[in-house]
């Protein structure tokens, strides 16, 4: 039950080869050509996968390679929303049309239903941390046509051209190296995509949380691997520092944390298309948040100063692991969700 299918093994091997290749070949178009975007979606919608396990395989390799391409934000999330609207995914899967999703707002934190941006024929409002906004052709925007922030009903999904009049952007880099922007909409013309988008947003959010967890797992495994290598090669006091028990035990705890994280991702992936989806996603994301912090902090600590330099690959991994806890709900958010869903507080 823990083995990958033949197709999944091939996908994993292909991704490992792709990410170990030259950086200049690792583009969005190359990902599309390889079928990596398609692996996120079922055959019924023009893809080649789309199960929880497929998503986990793709993103674990993505995280291990510390890949820069925003595959969650510009592939997985828009695809799930467009699929819910019965739209053709081929242009997305082929890499011909690039989408970004503008959903989060300054006050929304991790609450999916906190949408204040309005739609009353045109769009007006502010969105924050829109990853990929500057390279997207189309921007999918959530906005409220009725009700108030905090209502699940009344949230629609709209499509806007990247260069639309009334849309302004403030671009910046995120801590994990992505390009993002805050977007401001003033009476922007938009095409309705979904009238009631909340159920599709929940599915997209769950897929995003699974993908982010798998991505974090890949980065954690790589950080642990680098730490193991460092402890066997770095000499102080005339011997490898891994021969000091204080560090050896910490490395053992780190490896244990990675194994727990791997199990949590497997569990969430297996439950992805079942009624237990949200409970397992909450459990996974909470555990990944806690284990990720341990792995990122201990990896830097055991490397010492070199682990804090921009030049050395560990720093980017540590930032990626840490930032995973700032997307799709953090440790506390998912602890609360788990308590609600498991009935422990009822």
């Amino acid at each position: 039950m823990f083995d990958l299918s033949e197709e999944q093994t091939m996908l994993q091997d292909m991704l490992a080869r792709f990410w170990s290749g030259p950086a200049e070949t690792q583009t969005w178009d190359a990902l599309a050509d390889l079928g990596v975007i398609g692996a996120c979606f079922p055959e019924s919608h023009g893809g080649f996968g789309g199960t929880g396990r497929d998503i986990a395989v793709v993103f674990e390799e993505h995280g291990r390679a510390c890949a820069a391409e925003p595959l969650i934000d510009m592939g997985l999330l828009p695809g799930i929303l467009l699929r819910a609207a019965e739209q053709d995914l081929k242009p997305l899967i082929a890499g011909k049309t690039r989408y970004a999703l503008a959903h989060g707002e300054a006050a929304s934190r991790y609450d999916l239903d906190w949408v204040e941006t309005r739609f009353d024929g045109t769009l007006s409002g502010e969105k924050t941390v829109v990853v990929g906004a500057m390279t997207a052709d189309k921007i999918l925007v959530t906005a409220r046509h009725s009700g108030v922030a905090g209502d699940a009903a009344g949230i629609g999904l709209y499509q806007v051209d990247a260069g639309a009049a009334g849309l302004t952007s403030t671009p910046y880099r995120t801590a994990d190296g992505a390009q993002a922007a805050d977007l401001s909409f003033t009476s922007v013309s938009a095409t309705p995509v979904l009238t009631e988008a909340y159920p599709a947003l929940q599915t997209a959010w769950a897929a995003g949380a699974l993908a982010q967890s798998a991505d974090c797992l890949g980065a954690m495994a790589q950080a642990a691997h680098m730490t193991r290598e460092y402890l066997t090669t770095r000499q102080q006091f005339g011997r490898p520092i891994g021969s000091f028990q204080a560090l050896a035990h910490r490395l053992a705890d780190m490896m244990l944390a990675v194994e727990q994280a791997r199990s949590a991702v497997l569990m969430a992936a297996a439950a992805f298309d079942t009624a237990e989806r949200d409970l397992n996603i909450a459990a996974c994301k909470n555990l990944i948040g806690r284990m990720g912090r341990q792995v990122a902090e201990d990896a830097i600590q055991m490397h010492g100063g070199i682990g804090m330099t921009e030049e050395y690959a560990l720093g980017d991994l540590a930032k990626r692991i840490t930032m995973a806890d700032h997307r799709f709900g953090d440790t506390d958010h998912h602890l609360t969700a788990f308590l609600d869903l498991s009935g422990a507080t009822s």
Binding site: A106, W114, E311, D316
Partner: protein
Amino acid sequence: MELSLSPDDQAFRAELKQFLSEALPHELSEKVRKHQSLSKSDYEYWHARLNEKGWLAVNWPKSFGGAEMSATQRHIFEEECALAHAPRIVPFGLSMLAPVLQKFGSAEQQAHWLPRILSGEDWWCQGYSEPGAGSDLAALKTRAERDGDHYVVNGQKTWTTLGQHANMIFCLVRTDPAAKKQEGISFLMIDMSAPGIEVRPIRLIDGGAEVNEVWFTDVRVPVENLVGEENKGWTYAKYLLTHERTNISGIGFSRAGLAAVKRIAARVRDRHGTLNDNPYFAARVAQVEIDLMAMAVTNLRIVSKAAAGQAPGLESSLLKIKGTQIRQEITDLARRAVGPLAQVFASEAVAGSNTELPDALDAGHVAASYFNNRKLSIFGGSNEIQREIYSKAILKD
């Protein structure tokens, strides 16, 4: 036990608060509060204000022109300065080199170098760590060979904080390669403008470049720049390290940091009201606050045992471990508090920086600050080394 302040100490605190409200410019404290990198002149300005008041050299004896504050006063000073978001006092000359010169330097060295530290004429940096000598500092390889009335220095130092601003560096160098590793080390003061010195910045994961590599190629150093005796440098180095750990508990920084976390959380909407009303987040903050309350007393208990102008001994390892754990935990709370906005990376030192972002939560610096402060448990003797020092001492018969 009396935990409240004496009338004298209360008066000192009042005078200090008054001074900070008058002497510390708002633009400068805002830079500190937002974790923006300070320029050389920012530091020099603040040092000069403190020096005018006689409060720059808090730990120096009066005989050398210092403030010779009591342990309690130092505690108050550090706390109030941190709460006011004053720039930190750059420690390399004032609290690292100076105590060594005062104890081991010649009268000529004291008369020449100490006033220049107070006046700001010299900016010192520290040449201790090397690529192969981190926790194992005594493994250092930088060579100093005697040639007439000079030493000729070759080698590389690293993690030299603010070395880009310095005109002088104090270094541990190997003068006797045949001796046991702790016994062939000397303590040299080197002019950074000497031919053969190259400073290269090291960029860190928070985007800043506060540390440097310093390379020495046939650098000629006059023998009068040797501190104490040749090959006795390890003794001076260890003495310096105990002073480096003064204020390592960073209680003031922690208090200021915790207050900032609560200010942020009060402005973050949560389904309970604000984030301060969220029981999970509030519990995280409360636990750190409780640790900090006890830590402040631990700190005072330990530093008050040390004589005025002196540093605590072995217990400074305890202060370093617990103090840095608390400070790091607070940077973790800050990044949690801003939630998804922690992704916005506004490190000022990054090209194309985000400092102009409209940023209602001041969220832009918290991730950078979290990553930057990983250094606290690594530098000045890593926390593992501190545990080693402390456990060896308590397990000794």
